[in-house]
Amino acid sequence: MSWSEMQPLLSDACLDTLFMVLWSTVWTVVVGLPLGVLLVLTGRGGLLQNVLVNKVIGAVVNIGRSIPFIILMVVLIPFTRFVVGTSIGPSAAVVALAVGGIPFFARLVETAVREVDHGLIEAVQSMGGGTWTLVLKVLLPQALPSIVAGLTTTVIALIGYSAIAGAIGAGGLGNLAIVYGYQRFETGLMVVTVIVLIVIVTLVQLIGDLVARRLAPRGTSRAQTPVRIRLPWSARTAQEATIAKP
């Protein structure tokens, strides 16, 4: 296969991947962020301590995180059809990706928000601050650098998932690599696709690290996050490593 043959395939696949990752990221943030904050607030000793709500959200998040993405996609087919009217194509994949990304991100947000020094909460309470003030002026601003780092990890995981979404005809770079490279033995195209994926993931990581570093409070020894190159399929393990870190 020549480069002129590859190019239209690659640009189409890139656009599909971007579409899927972008929209699923939007939904992941819109739903995952409040969910993560709610996990902290309703937790033990939280501002809105509520064991029942906490257990329910926690269970849902755990289930969402433990189901392998490919199975999640299949299980979600009826739901996807209900939401976007079809169960194949990039739009359908966005639903599955968002459902996969939300619990993933919610846990990262929870960890980030829990790290916020309790003394700060107490200080703002002593000024007469209520729950909204605490969330908007203390918890989120203080946890923002960690949340951005978590979002970077989530986006990279979503890029990895989007490759699997190719299995339901969602297109994208992952699909291209599998269909042409694996099934039709177009090794050249597969190598190029993988290189493009590496470049995208590296860019996402670089931008994420940059933003997180810019947001880190000034004057502190900023958390030196080494710039790592993560391959899409290693996203899950990389994420787990982040979680395991105290």
């Binding site: 809105l48 107490e122 200080a123 703002v124 309470q125 002593s126 007469g128 601003p141 409070p217 004057g219």
Partner: protein, 355 residues
């Protein structure tokens, strides 16, 4: 200004109960600096956190500026609007400053004003005014991480004052600071107390802090207030543990047949040269074994341990003279020669027993 009546706090965790406060009655008058001291775990932090209801007391009431906060507070963890309103009129400073690292110094001070709904322009004006008050005008745009501990605490104090509070609570505000910085922060608190008529309730484990700025003090032990009063009241109380810790005197008698006397100075008598008068009047030699004198709230107060020649019986008259001068006199037990004889006997017995 601050009154607690029969305040108790019981922590329950995994079936275990800890009584952190056990019936505390505290009375802090308007415009005074009140220090609470006690060992670690005595319940000091719990007490101060109960004053603005960061911690719900198990029973008892807290009244600040005539308002019963315990009646305001709803049940459950969340503070209702009335309690939040009341809290905004009580400033609090913390041992570890608790400044938001994501905000500049000025924005940290503006935070309580944002909560109070003050407009942007007014917030800035007030924040800059407060920064000036605590002597940090130059650091308005700095971030907390760029400040020294003392500067951070000044920001903490400025922030606590933003809501024009009548009362300032301070939980070990100087414990993370070096002695020099501690002095400057205490001086600032003293100035604020004088200039703004601020009532200050502070927790500390350093007797020096009490000595430097407190008008009154209380000693806590096992969740109870065991002693309390103004510093001179405490000094006037025979056997007061706080007075002894504030003004510790030591010193052993130089030989047998001596009388050792602890003299406490407070009030008018402290201005008289009593010791030399005693020496001249009775023509006796007096040795000073130890002394701890200080100026507390502008008055000379303190304790001194002196030694008079002869046994107690021979010194009844001079001791009476000291009492007549309005001094408080305690005869220290160590002076008794019989005691040391007794000790020798005991040592002899122990030796016999060993053989």
């Amino acid at each position: 200004m601050i009154t607690t009546t029969d305040l108790t706090k019981v922590y329950r965790s995994r079936g275990r109960e800890v009584t952190a406060l056990d019936g505390v009655d505290l009375h802090v008058r308007e415009g005074e600096v009140y220090g609470v001291v006690g060992r670690s775990g005595a319940g000091k932090s719990t007490l101060i956190r109960c004053v603005n209801l960061l911690e719900r007391p198990s029973s008892g009431t807290v009244t600040v500026a005539g308002q019963d906060l315990t009646a305001l507070a709803g049940r459950g963890q969340r503070a209702n609007a009335a309690l939040r309103q009341a809290r905004s009129r009580i400033g609090m400073v913390f041992q570890h400053f608790n400044l938001l690292s994501s905000r500049t110094v000025r924005d940290n001070i503006e935070l309580p004003l944002e909560i109070l709904g003050v407009s942007g322009k007014e917030r800035t004006r007030k924040a800059l005014e407060l920064l000036d008050l605590v002597g940090l005008s130059a650091q308005a745009k700095a971030y907390p991480a760029q400040l020294s501990g003392g500067q951070k605490q000044r920001v903490g104090i400025a922030r606590a004052l933003a809501g024009d509070p009548k009362v300032l609570l301070s939980d070990e505000a100087t414990s993370a600071l070096d002695p020099e910085t501690t002095r400057s922060i205490l001086q600032l608190l003293r100035d604020l107390n004088r200039q703004l008529g601020l009532t200050v309730l502070l927790i500390t484990h350093e007797m020096d802090v009490v000595k430097t700025i407190c008008d009154s003090a209380a000693l806590m032990k096992g969740g109870r207030v065991v002693e309390s009063g103004t510093v001179s009241e405490l000094l006037a109380t025979p056997g007061s543990e706080l007075a002894a810790e504030l003004f510790p005197v030591g010193g052993e008698p130089s030989g047998p047949d001596r009388t050792v006397v602890d003299v406490t100075f407070h009030g008018e008598a402290a201005t008289q040269p009593v010791i030399s008068q005693l020496s001249r009047t009775y023509n006796i030699d007096i040795s000073i074994l130890g002394a701890a004198m200080d100026t507390v709230a502008g008055k000379q107060v303190g304790r001194m341990r002196i030694e008079l020649p002869g046994r107690f019986e021979e010194n009844v008259v001079p001791i009476g003279f000291l009492r007549e001068q309005g001094l408080q006199v305690e005869v220290a037990a160590v002076a008794d020669a019989v005691d040391s004889d007794g000790l020798q006997e005991a040592a002899g017995l122990a030796k016999d027993g060993a053989q």
